[in-house]
């Protein structure tokens, strides 16, 4: 097996001699203390594995700084000795590669020790957090102090963090669900060790760093998301004031082809902000994967789960073939009026839809999870999807215009590819304002189905790119491949920025396909990770 071969040899960063590496480790140890540096395979194990489509990619060491100043010193040492660093915040990144670097031999810079909530401003409704702060931690902080503020957790992993999720352009489900949009003001350690404060923070002593995004001059924050141009060490995130009232709207639709009408109904409701939450339209199988046991006896692991089984299991759980969750917020009167208006609209355009009683529906894990997500409460339900076939989990997440026909077309592209590789289509459409994220879960069995899953993932990525649909995020194993599909000018600009800020390419080489020595060529993937 590939993973067996992969783990037999300890490694060094590419092009670094044992002597230089030993010097780097000595200097890192002086900076953070011996306890926070390790080259022991026993302590590197968690950084080498994904959940889990990719064979292990082993780092050479891990360093765990406790302050910004320590990070600056680490970066300077790495720059001088040409040691590649792979920074992590909380390291969850479930289904997109977890803590793995693109290349073997990187030194992991694990920022989990930097877990201070630096500020929560109740009046202006924002928080400033370090990289190691988790959603669970921030949630508890707000609850313990009875602060009437909501955070916006992603669907998985309360142990993930707002800084990492925002920097990876993650999304949530309240009206603040577009996380980067609701972030304001970064502190970034640049590859030369200098400290950049973005936006209004560029003014020494700024009093508006985390409340006015644009500052003066170019808006730089975006450069430090989904990239490898710096290590973000502080982030301002805007928190949603707890509304006086809210009303989840939960509905089901019985037929697969209802997806066209559903998305077309949602488009005006979303664009007008009548429905300000992200609206999730999930296929039954997505909920069942978290709640039911995979019917191996019906599929042999090579055929799609039969429709009859899906319908029967869905019926037991208050699920339709499509399951729609949105929420309205505001004063009690506004909420009542808006919710009624939404229901009327839905009733007119989607007579086949069933509107669920929220309290009754919350007896179901899936619906309870959705309500929690839309009201700022982290939840763990999505973990249970990992057991659907046997642990393998990767997300394919292209972005689609918010039209029903587009959604249907997407399913027509995706489903045959999943089936051809012996997997099920397990997807949801998450309606944002003008687009929908089509998030598909490639759930497979480890280790037997790993290679098949890799082929499936690549085919899906290519199929959607061929049709003009770009994934908003991808697994570490496909970052270079995805970047290779983009326009050469875009790729060249990314590389030039990299060269300008990080001429030796020490920060996260290959992250999102960006390297100082050039972007990957179209239609080819350089083989770098995976063996040691």
């Amino acid at each position: 097996m590939a993973h067996a071969i992969a783990s037999r040899r300890a490694i060094l960063p590419r092009g670094v001699s044992p002597r230089t590496f030993a010097r780097a480790i000595r200097e890192f140890t002086e900076i953070v203390g011996g306890r926070n540096v390790s080259v022991s395979p026993a302590e590197l194990v968690p950084y080498a594995h994904d959940v889990i489509m990719v064979p292990p990619i082993w780092p050479s060491a891990v360093v765990r700084p406790g302050s910004v100043e320590e990070i600056q010193r680490i970066v300077r040492v790495a720059g001088a000795l040409r040691i590649p660093l792979w920074p992590l915040s909380t390291g969850k990144n479930i289904a997109y590669g977890r803590m793995m670097a693109v290349d073997p031999g990187n030194v992991i810079v694990d920022l989990a020790r930097m877990n201070r909530i630096l500020e929560v401003n109740e009046q202006l409704a924002y928080a400033v957090v370090e990289p190691g702060v988790t959603y669970a931690q921030l949630y508890k902080h707000l609850r313990d102090r009875n602060l009437p503020l909501w955070l916006d957790p992603p669907a998985t992993a309360p142990g993930a963090g707002p800084l990492g999720n925002t920097v990876e352009r993650g999304v949530g489900y309240t009206p603040y669900g577009e996380h980067f949009l609701f972030s304001c003001g970064m502190e970034v350690v640049l590859p030369d060790g200098r400290l950049l404060r973005t936006g209004s923070g560029a003014l020494p002593g700024s009093r508006t760093w985390h409340i006015f995004k644009w500052g003066f001059g170019p808006y730089l924050d975006g450069l430090f998301t989904a990239s490898n141009y710096g290590i973000v060490t502080k982030l301002g995130i805007w928190l949603m004031p707890e509304p006086p009232a809210h009303q989840p709207i939960l509905m089901t639709c019985p037929r697969e082809d209802d997806i066209v009408a559903i998305m077309d109904v949602l488009r005006p409701l979303k664009i007008s902000h009548t429905l300000p939450s992200a609206v999730v339209v999930a296929h039954a199988l997505l909920a069942l994967a978290a709640e039911a046991e995979y019917p191996w006896h019906l599929t042999g692991g090579t055929r799609p789960v039969p429709d009859g089984w899906i319908r029967e299991e869905a019926r037991k759980r208050m699920l339709g073939i499509w399951n729609i969750a949105g929420c309205v917020y505001g004063s009690p009167a506004t909420v009542a009026e808006t919710a009624a208006a939404v229901r009327r609209t839905v009733a007119a355009a989607l007579p086949q839809a069933t509107v669920l009683d929220v309290e009754e529906a919350r007896q179901s894990p899936y619906w309870d999870h959705k309500v929690r997500n839309m009201t700022g409460v982290p939840s763990m339900v999505e973990y249970s999807r990992l057991s659907w076939r046997g642990g393998g989990n990767a997300f394919v997440a292209p972005v689609v215009p918010l039209f029903g026909e587009e959604a249907r077309r997407h399913m027509e592209i995706a489903r045959p590819i999943f089936w051809r590789h012996g997997f099920d289509y397990i997807g949801e459409f998450i309606a944002a304002t003008r687009d929908q994220h089509h998030v598909m879960m490639l759930l497979h069995k480890q280790p037997d189905e790993m290679e098949r899953a890799m082929r499936c993932y690549r085919e899906l990525t290519d199929a959607f790119c061929d049709e003009g649909y770009l994934p908003y995020r991808t697994n570490v194993a496909f970052m270079e491949h995805t970047m290779s599909r983009l326009d050469p000018v875009f790729r060249d600009v990314c590389v030039r920025i990299k060269r300008a800020l990080d001429p030796h390419g020490i920060l996260a080489p290959g992250k999102n396909g960006i390297r100082v020595d050039g972007a990957p060529a179209p239609r080819s993937r350089r083989r770098r990770g995976g063996t040691r």
């Binding site: 097996m1 067996a4 783990s7 037999r8 040899r9 300890a10 490694i11 060094l12 001699s17 044992p18 590496f21 030993a22 022991s40 395979p41 026993a42 302590e43 194990v45 968690p46 080498a48 594995h49 959940v51 889990i52 292990p56 050479s60 765990r64 390291g91 479930i94 803590m99 031999g105 989990a112 669970a136 931690q137 949630y139 508890k140 609850r143 309360p158 142990g159 978290a290 709640e291 039911a292 046991e293 759980r317 894990p365 309870d368 999870h369 929690r372 409460v377 939840s379 763990m380 339900v381 973990y383 249970s384 990992l386 057991s387 046997g390 642990g391 989990n393 480890q446 280790p447 040691r532």
Partner: protein, 465 residues
């Protein structure tokens, strides 16, 4: 790409007569698929009610109101709590096992390897959270067939066994190795000769028959490797004898003939010696029990109970014993249920009950201590937030205090803190494990803590007429 260390024998090669494939075989023979750890890291998540929302056992254990309260978050895995490093978690250790089986080369002298492997207290807290293990009842409540598909405890024990077979004592931390060797050589945890095994009887004036010489008894009380040699535990032994005597039972002990069950030996990975010790211990007990007309063999030691009742996949004897066998706590509970122990004197105090990992979480003796304490007149019993299956290990287990004393003390202080936060006026901590009690007593004394640590038997015996 160059190597950063001199090449060592990879685990694909045989060292000490074993290879990585042997570890895989050992684990798979237990019915465990190493890939059933989905590395979801639920075992590192904090027990924050309202976040850990769909856990049915959790809801049942704490009740709907507390479950919804979202009041605290405390990790259940002590090593994750201490290190906040993912290598020191159930999944980190499971991944290590997977990599070792796949041929990852390790140096047995690597102190970090030892620390990752041997700081685990084998407390099984992770198993209660693990959704691979519990996925049916925990996260998928509509499923019909609860089953255990994942057994981190079995993996951790196999990992230690494999390291021991491959590298011998070189892989075992010094303090733990010393403890295990004392047990193997002398049969006692302190290294004191076994002839001292009855000193507590004279010191406490307990009415006990030393069956190693002659005599008959209704109950043969097993004391294992620690209690007879640690003066601080003698009041607990004396209290248990008083309770059994109050039920009209004649109590015997094996005295110098009793040898340790030796959990520390298992913690080293020396499974062969561990089983040899236990088979010999059982042989001696069987011989005496038969001769002395013993009705039931009762151990006061939770690790000894585990040694003889744990399944074979955990290298236990699976209860396959030629005599009736019980732990003292459920045995006492059955006597109380039968009305044979009169608890009449009021014990006007507030105590907090701390469950033990081996007796409580592993052996599921969770209700008996509560029911026993409920029968003590006047006693007000508080519960720690982390309790029953979700208890937080006090750091006493698996020889960790000997191998990693600083960490063990940190966990002990934390556990005492958890006790302190639920006591209103009282200052007494009640434990169901002599091993935990001894550890916590040392921690409390060392920190000048006002808390008093007492064994359950001591508190209950105070209610005897």
């Amino acid at each position: 790409m160059s190597r950063r260390r001199p090449a060592r024998a990879g685990n694909g090669r045989r060292a000490g007569g074993v290879s990585g494939a042997d570890l895989r075989r050992e684990i798979e023979a237990k019915g465990i698929n190493l890939f059933e750890c989905y590395t979801c890291r639920l075992c590192t998540e904090e027990m924050q009610r309202g976040i850990l929302t769909l856990t049915e056992p959790y809801r049942k254990a704490f009740g709907e109101a507390e479950w919804r309260r979202d009041l605290f978050n405390e990790p259940v895995c002590p090593t994750w709590d201490y290190y906040r490093h993912e290598a020191y978690t159930a999944y980190g250790r499971a991944l290590l096992a997977r990599d070792l089986a796949d041929g990852l080369a390790v140096d047995p002298a690597d102190p970090r390897l030892r620390e990752v492997v041997y700081t685990c207290l084998l407390c099984t807290g992770c198993q209660e959270l693990c959704f691979s293990r519990n996925r049916v009842p925990l996260m998928k409540p509509f499923m019909e067939l609860p089953r255990e598909v994942w057994d981190i405890h079995g993996i951790l024990l196999a990992e230690r066994k494999w390291l021991f077979e491959r590298h011998g004592w070189a892989a075992v931390p010094e303090g733990l190795a010393a403890l295990a060797q004392r047990i193997l050589q002398s049969g006692t945890a302190t290294g004191e000769p076994r002839r001292g095994a009855t000193r507590w009887i004279e010191a406490t004036g307990s009415e006990v028959v030393d069956l190693s010489r002659a005599g008959r008894a209704d109950v043969l009380l097993l004391l294992d490797a620690q209690a007879p040699y640690e003066r601080a535990l003698w009041p607990a032994l004396a209290a248990m004898v008083r309770l059994l005597r109050a039920a009209g039972l004649v109590v015997g002990v094996l005295g110098a003939e009793e040898i340790a069950t030796g959990l520390a030996v298992l913690a080293c990975g020396d499974v062969q010696d561990y089983l040899r010790l236990n088979h010999e211990a059982v042989r001696r007990v069987a011989q005496v029990a038969d001769r002395a007309g013993v009705g039931c063999v009762v151990t006061v030691d939770d690790t000894g109970y585990l040694a003889w009742t744990a399944p074979a996949k955990h290298y236990g004897l699976a209860g396959d014993l030629p005599f009736p066998f019980a732990h003292a706590v459920p045995f006492l509970h059955s006597l109380l249920e039968e009305g044979r122990v009169p608890l009449v004197r009021p014990v006007e105090m507030e105590v907090v009950l701390l469950d033990s990992c081996h007796l409580g979480r592993y052996s599921k003796v969770l209700d008996a201590p509560r029911r026993i304490l409920a029968r003590v007149p006047g006693l007000r019993v508080q519960e720690a937030h982390l309790r029953r299956e979700y208890l937080y290990c006090c750091g006493a287990a698996a020889g960790v205090p000997e191998a990693y004393p600083a960490q063990a003390a940190w966990w002990g202080r934390k556990r005492l803190g958890q006790a302190r936060e639920v006591l209103h006026t009282g200052r007494t901590v009640v434990t169901t494990s002599l091993v935990c009690g001894a550890h916590l007593r040392r921690i409390a004394a060392g920190t000048g803590d006002a808390l008093e640590v007492r064994d359950l038997a001591e508190v209950v015996a105070a209610a005897l007429a």
